[in-house]
């Protein structure tokens, strides 16, 4: 051990002070993920607030970790949650099992299920990590109405699916114009 060795050691410390810091100040600073990061799931809605989920269970089928539980049910004229005949009555994702692979997203035929970038999925209670439909449903945006309610954007589900993008654009415009007029 030479005389200068302690100083050498400080040299490392000293030089590091001028390098870019890699430490993240989480949770004080919430660092954004890459845009396509597989975070928490979300069950999306049609522009009028009806649910996109039809309870088909394809996500559950695709899931390699058996993390998803779905039960479908009938829409009725009096109680409608989604356009068409069927809606997801029960929807649960168990985040203790979920491996974030995203196969469920690929399987979803209505683009109901998508993933957010939200990654804070930790808890000290197993029960709390089973997210139910209420936890997973997308928030109601302006112009949306909480189901059950009748189809507002067409006479049948065809209108919702075939004219989907157009409806979405229209809903966006309506929202903008209503915001403008509100001002």
């Amino acid at each position: 051990m030479g005389m200068l060795d302690p100083i050498k050691g400080f040299g490392v410390t000293f030089s590091t002070m001028f390098k870019k810091v890699v430490t993240e100040e989480y949770p004080e600073v919430f660092y954004p993920t890459a845009p396509r990061y597989h975070g928490r799931h979300q069950l999306n809605r049609h522009p009028d607030g009806l649910e996109k989920c039809v309870g088909c269970e394809l996500c559950a089928w695709a899931c390699p970790a058996d993390a998803i539980f779905v039960e479908g049910a009938d829409n009725t004229e009096e109680e409608r949650y989604s356009p068409g005949e069927r809606y997801g009555k029960n929807y649960q994702i168990n985040y203790l099992r979920c491996i974030g692979c995203g196969l469920c997203i690929e399987a979803c035929p209505t683009r109901s299920l998508t993933m957010l970038n939200f990654y804070e999925l930790a808890d000290d209670d197993r029960q709390k990590l089973i997210y139910t439909k209420e936890d997973l449903l997308a928030p109601l945006l302006p112009g949306m109405e909480a189901p059950p309610h009748p189809m507002r954007l067409g006479d049948d589900e065809q209108d919702y699916y075939v004219r989907g993008p157009e409806l979405a654009r229209q809903a966006g415009q309506d929202r903008q114009s209503s915001e403008v007029s509100a001002q």
Binding site: V54, G55, C56, E57, L58, A60, W61, E71, G72, A73, D74, G84, E85, R86, P109, T110
Partner: protein, 848 residues
């Protein structure tokens, strides 16, 4: 392309048996029976040809064209691919399936593409998704993309063609399995192909596009068939689905377990599918000896009683306040055992078991009665019954096996005579076999009954009409008025089927036995409930021990005492009382306690007297699943397991054992045999029926240790007074229960209930005119006790006879106090008042 197969084959030397032909499929030589369809021969060889419309139990249709193969005869190719489901094998035929023939492969791919052109591909919301032959076929052989760019043909969806069956015409590939099933197997052609052509679709008369008109009553004929559920199962796409299973689960959620139907005495093989401890659906199992591949709608759809909200899951004990309170098993057991011990040492205990028990449970009940309660007062017959019936059962039925009469022998029989038996309502699968026998084998089916029912019509049957109650006389006089039937019955293999209703008619069983002896025809008894036959063989009757030996047989008793390790002479030697006797004794204070399992007083000939007996008797122990008229009056209620939650055996009417295992494991529910075993232990007696398996082993040993005596003639009971009584303006009542009514195992099934046949009062035109009754308008029958009203309908009944269903939903016995063969007053119009049926009639109730 090479034409003929030049390879000299070894099998060429093997002899072609008589009635067989030699052909080649995919280069393999095969010998097949003449008349076999190519698709079946291929299947036997392990070559699977895709198909949708083909079904082995339906006549060939060639509707879907998916099974096209290339065929050449004697080296000459047929000009176009042939449908292998309609072409029969022939000598020297050379068949090339999609595996060896590019032509067949291309043809099949083309058909698949055509079938998918109008298919909505809405698999995500379709119940069939995941178990759909079309989906599988499309995945295996279909194109990955569609070349069809035009608009698909669409229909409004789904159509409710009955409350249970939903029709989605977009998904249909027009294979006609459902229409063929309905027409050929069930005989209910209420669905058919409409709009043949580009808009071809399945539909009912209600869905046909016809001008709506005001005068048309919309209740015409929807898809009202007892067998409609089978069309769902055989539909190769999701065009037919049930309201009950709609959107409930996916095949990968389900655990499938083979099971046996608990409803009628046919003992159909079923498959029960459950998800997370709840039964989602039942499907027909495949058992060629019993139900082939069909089950009735009751067997398929009536299962939610097991998850009924009011199901009893904990023992209940009646407290000081007169109400039932939940109690622990040990407490309930202790209370019950104490009361029963006291009763046993007092005036005695009666045991009523009902007809829904497994063989094992029935065995446990009778052993409990004989060993723990030391009595022969046990009877499984929770319905109208007679001493004559018991004699008949002992002499002709107990211990018989399928070698005597079976489903198969119905098909081979030259004639089947149904006496007091309405197969479609009482044993639907027997009905299907009779229809098959009549259609395919030319079996004559004759009915001794009152009118041309759907069973008579659909089996091309002959009706020997008689007055209700006059069945015995009709059988005795059959040689005069239907000589040809007697002749036919004398032929080898002829069968007489007797239903449970026969017990209400004095002398009928004796007449049946006389007829059988005269003609040599074989007799089979077909009860309505699944457990009756097993209960009989298990000895749950006052006069018979397990294995069919009479209780008066000292040798048999001694053998059982030895087997059951009882002190000598401890088994009661006197024949016990039957259900009516037990109830009468209980009402008269001659019994101190009743042990009741699954009995509905409304099924008994005198429901009020039964309820009164339950009220009066000192102690009632009820083994039940759900609250009932018995639990209302019970002091201790012990919950027992429904069929799905226990193992056991139903012995069907043939005498065939239909064992089943536990479907839903670990629900905590215990079978009757276990409850009784534990209860007996509390009473310091060992039954050795802790598990169904143990009970069964004990039963087999017991049955083997006794010998059944030779058949004894049945003594006709003295004719009931009323048969001779002056009718003075009264009419005679004919009645039986329809398959779908308000039975206790059909609760919480609104979709099934909607497919029940409407409750109507049937009578002939002359009788209607005499009483001023207009068809379609209400008519009322009444007795001193009460009255019932139904819309009237004209049918070919004898003069002064009316028919009504036994439950509508009020029981005939309950409302009128009379049953089949009884006298009632008939008038036009509705009942005087709904209250009056309960009010003054209630006071006269106890008299009967």
């Amino acid at each position: 392309m090479t034409l003929a197969h030049q390879k000299p084959s070894e099998t060429a030397q093997t002899e072609v048996p008589e009635g067989h032909v030699r052909l080649t499929i995919d280069g393999q030589e095969v010998i097949a029976p003449k008349g076999e369809l190519v698709i079946r021969t291929a299947e036997r060889m392990g070559i699977v040809i895709p198909r949708f419309c083909d079904h082995p139990l339906l006549d060939p249709a060639g509707a879907c064209r998916q099974c096209l193969v290339e065929v050449s005869m004697g080296g000459r190719p047929m000009p176009k691919p042939q449908a292998s489901c309609t072409i029969t094998v022939a000598d020297g035929m050379e068949v090339k399936t999609q595996l060896t023939s590019p032509v067949a492969d291309k043809a099949q791919k083309g058909v698949m593409e055509l079938l998918l052109i109008n298919h909505p591909l809405d698999c995500p919301i379709c119940d069939k998704g995941g178990e759909c032959p079309l989906q599988n076929q499309a995945m295996a052989h279909g194109r990955t993309d569609s070349r069809f760019v035009d608009r698909k043909r669409t229909f409004p969806k789904p159509l409710k063609i009955s409350t249970q069956i939903l029709l989605d015409r977009e998904r249909c590939v027009l294979c006609q399995r459902c229409t063929r099933f309905s027409q050929q197997i069930a005989g209910d052609p209420f669905i058919d192909l409409l709009e043949r052509g580009a808009q071809q679709q399945i539909g009912t008369s209600e869905t046909a596009e016809l001008e709506k008109s005001a005068s048309h009553t919309p209740d015409g004929t929807p898809f009202q068939s007892y067998f409609s559920g089978n069309t769902i199962q055989i539909c190769p796409v999701g065009a037919l689905t049930s309201a009950q299973y709609r959107f409930r689960s996916r095949p990968f959620d389900l655990v499938s377990s083979p099971s046996v139907c608990e409803h009628c005495s046919s003992g159909c093989a079923e498959r029960t599918d459950f998800r997370r401890g709840r039964i989602m659906r039942k499907l027909a199992g495949d058992d060629p000896d019993v139900n082939e591949e069909w089950i009735c709608d009751k067997g398929r759809f009536a299962f939610r009683y097991t998850t009924a909200r009011d199901r009893i899951r904990k023992p209940l004990v009646r407290g000081e306040d007169g109400e039932l309170h939940e109690a622990s098993w040990p407490e309930a057991m202790r209370l019950a055992a104490e009361a029963l011990l006291k009763a046993r040492d007092g005036k005695g205990i009666g045991v009523l078991t009902g007809g829904r028990l497994t063989l094992e449970d029935a065995y446990a009940y009778q052993k409990f009665a004989r060993v723990a309660a030391r009595t022969n007062d046990i009877d499984f017959r929770a319905r109208a019954h007679s001493a004559e019936e018991l004699q008949f059962l002992a002499a002709q039925v107990a211990g018989t096996t399928p070698e005597h009469v079976s489903f198969a022998s119905l098909e081979k029989a030259p004639i089947v005579l149904c006496v007091a038996f309405e197969p479609e309502d009482e044993a639907p699968i027997v009905f299907l076999r009779l229809r098959k026998a009549a259609r395919k084998m030319g079996t004559r089916v004759a009915f001794v009954g009152q009118w041309t029912t759907s069973s008579v019509r659909k089996t091309s049957g002959e009706l020997l009409a008689c007055e209700p109650g006059g069945e015995a006389a009709a059988l005795d006089g059959i040689a005069e008025h239907a000589k040809d039937i007697v002749e036919a019955l004398s032929a080898e293999g002829a069968v007489i089927l007797v239903g449970e209703r026969a017990a209400t008619m004095p002398g009928l069983f004796a007449a049946v036995q006389r007829l059988a002896e005269r003609t040599g025809a074989r007799v089979a008894w077909i009860p309505r409930r699944a457990g009756e036959r097993g209960a009989l063989d298990a000895g749950a009757v006052p006069t018979l021990l397990p294995g069919g030996a009479p209780v008066t047989d000292a040798g048999a008793r001694a053998a059982l005492e030895k087997l059951w390790r009882l002190p000598e002479g401890s088994l009661p030697a006197e024949p016990g009382r039957d259900t009516a006797g037990i109830l009468a004794a209980a009402a008269a204070g001659e019994l101190d306690a009743l042990v009741v399992g699954g009995v509905d007083p409304d099924d008994l000939p005198d429901p009020r007297a039964a309820r009164e007996a339950l009220d009066k008797v000192g102690f009632v122990l009820s083994l039940e699943m759900r609250p009932s008229a018995v639990t209302e009056r019970a002091d201790v209620v012990l919950p027992i397991a429904p069929t799905a939650e226990k193992a056991g055996t139903f012995r069907n009417w043939e005498g065939r054992d239909r064992p089943f295992e536990v479907t839903l494991q670990n629900t905590g529910a215990v079978p009757d045999c276990r409850v009784l075993d534990t209860l007996a232990v509390e009473m310091d007696v060992d039954l050795f029926t802790q598990t169904p398996k143990a009970a069964r082993a004990d039963f087999v040993r017991a049955a083997n240790s006794v010998t059944r005596p030779a058949a004894t003639p049945v003594e006709a009971a003295p004719e009931a007074e009323q048969a001779k009584a002056e009718t003075n303006g009264h009419v005679k009542l004919s009645t039986w229960r329809q398959l779908i009514d308000n039975g206790s195992l059909q609760v919480e099934e609104p979709h099934l209930a909607g497919t029940a046949r409407p409750a109507v009062l049937r009578l002939n035109e002359a009788t209607a005119q005499r009483h001023g009754i207009v068809p379609g308008e209400p008519a009322t029958i009444r007795t001193e006790r009460g009255e019932l009203s139904f819309p009237a309908e004209i049918a070919d009944l004898p003069d002064d006879v009316v028919w009504v269903p036994s439950r509508s939903p009020v029981g005939v016995y309950e409302a009128l106090g009379v049953g089949h063969g009884g006298l009632v007053q008939l008038s036009a119009g509705t009942a005087a008042g709904a209250e009056s049926a309960e009010g003054p009639a209630g006071e006269t109730g106890g008299a009967a």
